[in-house]
């Protein structure tokens, strides 16, 4: 029962976010970047024209939240996908080719030694800041995680009997890889993938906070949160909406990851 709740809750939350994302293509109360200075700092209210209020440039917060889902999901999903693909490739290479093994894994260790934010800061400073920079920085951060996962999974699986059997049949390595390894690795990869998306959203938020993420005037929740910082004492409501949006997203993906993790572990582990 326990697992199901995590998973279900997580899926619900993520569905909410996806719904918002879809909404961004269908209906926006106001253009998200349209400034209206005389109307700045309107407080939120059900009756008002701006349900969630306006920010310091008079932009409608609700529209920015809806629109912001695009940027956030774009950055999170693409960076994790890129990182995962590269990581899987490198991890597999390291596990299957002797010569690549040490080099690749040492580099991965090196990369992992950098605390996330530090690495992202360094990389974003070097590359162009903004969406591209964030995606690049976060994906590089994800590579070692996936590569090490794949590496150890492949080594584990290699020892399994049926692989040895397949090898003795003379199936090509490519065939073995595709028909046996991948299905075995998929569950854990998916779990890792979903958790990683949660992390990616968090990192993007921190990057925006430090001014290194998505640039103004684009609507990104992390950026909105960061911009609300200066006005926190005077206009605290500015921080509420983006904060909640971020929490829902991160929590959702983390819960899914958690739930999947539990299912996996419990399959091998008679815990129930």
């Amino acid at each position: 029962m326990r697992i199901n709740i995590s998973l279900i809750l997580g899926i619900i939350l993520v569905l909410i976010i996806i719904a918002v994302w879809v909404l961004s293509f269908v209906y926006l109360p106001y253009p998200p970047n349209e400034m209206n200075i005389p109307n700045k700092f309107l407080k939120p209210g059900i009756e008002s024209e701006h349900i969630l209020g306006t920010d310091n440039f008079g932009r409608d917060i609700l529209s920015r939240i809806i629109y912001g889902s695009r940027n956030v999901l774009l950055v999170a999903i693409s960076s994790v996908t890129l990182g995962a693909l590269l990581g899987i490739f490198l991890g597999a290479l390291a596990a299957m080719e002797r010569f690549a093994d040490t080099i690749i894994m040492r580099i991965m260790d090196g990369l992992m030694a950098f605390p996330g934010i530090l690495l992202a800061m360094m990389l974003v400073t070097v590359m162009e800041r903004g969406i591209k920079g964030s995606i690049a920085a976060i994906s590089i951060f994800m590579v070692p995680v996936f590569s090490r996962l794949v590496y150890s999974m492949i080594l584990e699986t290699e020892a399994l009997l049926y692989i040895k059997a397949a090898k003795s049949y003379g199936s090509s390595r490519r065939q073995i890889f595709i028909r046996h390894y991948i299905p075995a690795m998929l569950p854990r990869l998916i779990t890792q993938f979903t958790s990683a998306i949660g992390s990616a959203v968090m990192i993007e938020t921190s990057l925006s906070f430090l001014g290194l993420g998505i640039q103004p005037p684009y609507a990104s929740w992390g950026l909105m949160l960061s911009e609300s910082r200066q006005f926190f004492l005077g206009y605290p409501y500015l921080a509420v909406a983006p904060g909640i949006a971020i929490i829902i997203t991160v929590l959702g993906f983390n819960l899914i990851g958690d739930g999947l993790n539990d299912i996996l572990i419990n399959r091998g582990n008679s815990d129930e």
Binding site: I37, F57, Q215, Q230, F231
Partner: protein, 498 residues
């Protein structure tokens, strides 16, 4: 084991929460001032840095030959009096004979000579400003003469700036971290990223200093700063426009606010294919609603300008009516220029200056409405300096130019051969600038500067936005804090009551 640790922790936490704060007895008047600031100084050597954050501090540790009042009057400091030759090419200072460096040694004209040579050497960021001084003659222990190559009617003013400080030769090796000057305060302690403590110089030559110590605390976060002020930890803080409402009306606080001696402008790279067209620049200027820019970036605490001098300058001439705000007309002008469908350009904004970042965003939005798509790029100050200012690699940018006492210093970059990041390449102000430098008659000079300002307002090598206000919030018992036309703080005359 775990339980024991847990109990200990809880005990500690509880006692920490209830521990009495060691509040000093408020029997006598407080003599320690605590001020919040947001940017760390880049070393404390006045000859080796260009950062304003440094001078706000060093102005109290070092002295210059002359000083300036908030009313722009030049007053004696290390120099008692001065004489300018008839042809204006020589200036002789008579120095005080009661000045001692913090290390005990007495200051003489030789120190002044040494300091200015150091100010002019290759490692000094301000060397170029003092190239005109070609000879320094020490006449005797307390008299020194400076000789220039070309006539500069504003020569005296170059001796006011905080980088023209007098330093003792024997201490220069460590000046950056252990500054030794003649000023009203000595550096007692500098903990990087945390605070700076200044201590009263008991051998100061000037009037009695009431404060014993000044602690400057680094708080990079506006919320933290305001929170510190509201709980009474900080006596003075810099205030941003939106915070004004939290302070005004509260009888426990005071606000002082002065227009800065600065201009915020949107610089244009006239080499850009679109921006080289004067009509395009005028169209852009017409599409910008400066009131909204000021409202958004300074919450209204700024004054519109039409040209490159601030209203605080004695030579200021109001050019605000030359370009009107009219987006419709702007679109027409664009069409005339051949860009009916608009175009795309970049805007670099220095990310550590919220004021410019905000203004830039509003401008981008306004330009968007007449069809010009602006791509904003926030860059670090370091990148801005090397890319925009140094390599002139930009289309547009929004930035501030500050702190000069003479109009020539503000306007000299518009000479067509100035090689500055912006200039009026078509040369209309060249002759005028030459004349202004040589014109000894103040009124005639004013006329010349008026003409220059009008030309700039029409030709628009940059679009002139506003002069923002400096605002400080003070606890009600703080007196004597003033705002100067140069970007620094001066604690000599500050004191606390009650």
């Amino acid at each position: 084991m775990k339980k024991i640790i847990a109990i200990l922790l809880i005990a500690m936490l509880i006692s920490a929460c209830t521990a009495q704060e060691n509040t000093p007895e408020k029997a006598d008047v407080k003599t320690e001032l605590t001020m919040g600031y947001t940017t760390e100084p880049e070393g404390l050597d006045p000859h080796r840095t260009a950062a304003a954050s440094t001078f706000t501090v060093t102005n109290n540790i070092f002295d210059t030959l002359v000083g300036v009042t908030p009313q722009w009057e030049i007053v004696p400091r290390l120099a008692k009096e001065w004489v300018i030759s008839d042809d204006g090419m020589e200036i002789t200072f008579s120095l005080r004979d009661d000045v001692y460096f913090h290390n005990g040694r007495q200051m003489t004209a030789k120190d002044v000579e040494y300091s200015f040579n150091r100010l002019k050497d290759a490692e000094s960021p301000r060397a170029r400003d003092y190239e005109n001084i070609v000879k320094i003659e020490v006449l005797n222990d307390y008299e020194i003469k400076f000789i220039t190559a070309a006539l500069d009617v504003e020569l005296l003013k170059s001796f006011v700036y905080p980088w023209a400080a007098v330093v003792p030769e024997e201490e220069v090796a460590n000046l950056k971290t252990e500054p030794v000057g003649t000023g009203a305060f000595t550096l007692e302690e500098w903990v990087p990223q945390q605070h700076l403590i200044l201590k009263r110089n008991e051998n100061y030559y000037g009037d009695e200093i009431k404060l014993e110590t000044v602690k400057m605390v680094l708080i990079p976060d506006a919320t933290g700063m305001m929170a510190g002020f509201q709980v009474g930890d900080l006596d003075i803080i810099p205030l941003t426009g939106d915070q004004v409402t939290m302070i005004e009306g509260n009888e426990n606080y005071k606000i002082i606010s002065e227009p800065m001696n600065a201009v915020q402008i949107m610089s244009l790279n006239t080499k850009n294919e679109y921006l080289s067209n004067e009509k395009v620049r005028q169209a852009m200027a017409m599409a910008i609603n400066k009131d909204e820019v000021i409202e958004a970036s300074m919450f209204g605490y700024g004054a519109k300008i039409g040209s490159h001098l601030p209203p605080t300058s004695p030579d200021y001439y109001d050019t605000n009516n030359i370009i009107e705000y009219n987006p419709e007309k702007a679109k027409e002008l664009l069409k005339e220029a051949g860009y009916e469908n608009g175009f795309e350009i970049d805007m670099s904004l220095p990310k550590n200056y919220q004021l410019h970042v905000d203004a830039g965003q509003v401008i981008a939005d306004q330009l968007g409405r007449i069809g010009i798509k602006v791509n904003i790029q926030l860059v670090e100050w370091g990148t801005w300096l090397s890319e925009v200012y140094g390599a002139k690699n930009f289309d547009t940018t929004v930035v501030g130019h500050t702190g000069r006492l003479d109009s020539y210093a503000f306007l000299s970059r518009y000479k067509s051969d100035s090689n500055d990041y912006i200039s009026l390449t078509t040369g209309e102000v060249d002759v005028l600038l030459e004349e202004a430098l040589k014109e000894l008659d103040e009124n005639k000079r004013k006329e010349i500067y008026k003409d220059i300002q009008v030309i700039l307002a029409n030709k628009l090598p940059a679009i002139y936005l506003q002069t923002p206000h400096t605002m400080l919030a003070l606890q009600k018992n703080v007196e004597g804090m003033k705002i100067f036309p140069i970007d620094f703080y001066d604690y000599k005359d500050v004191y606390l009551t009650e």
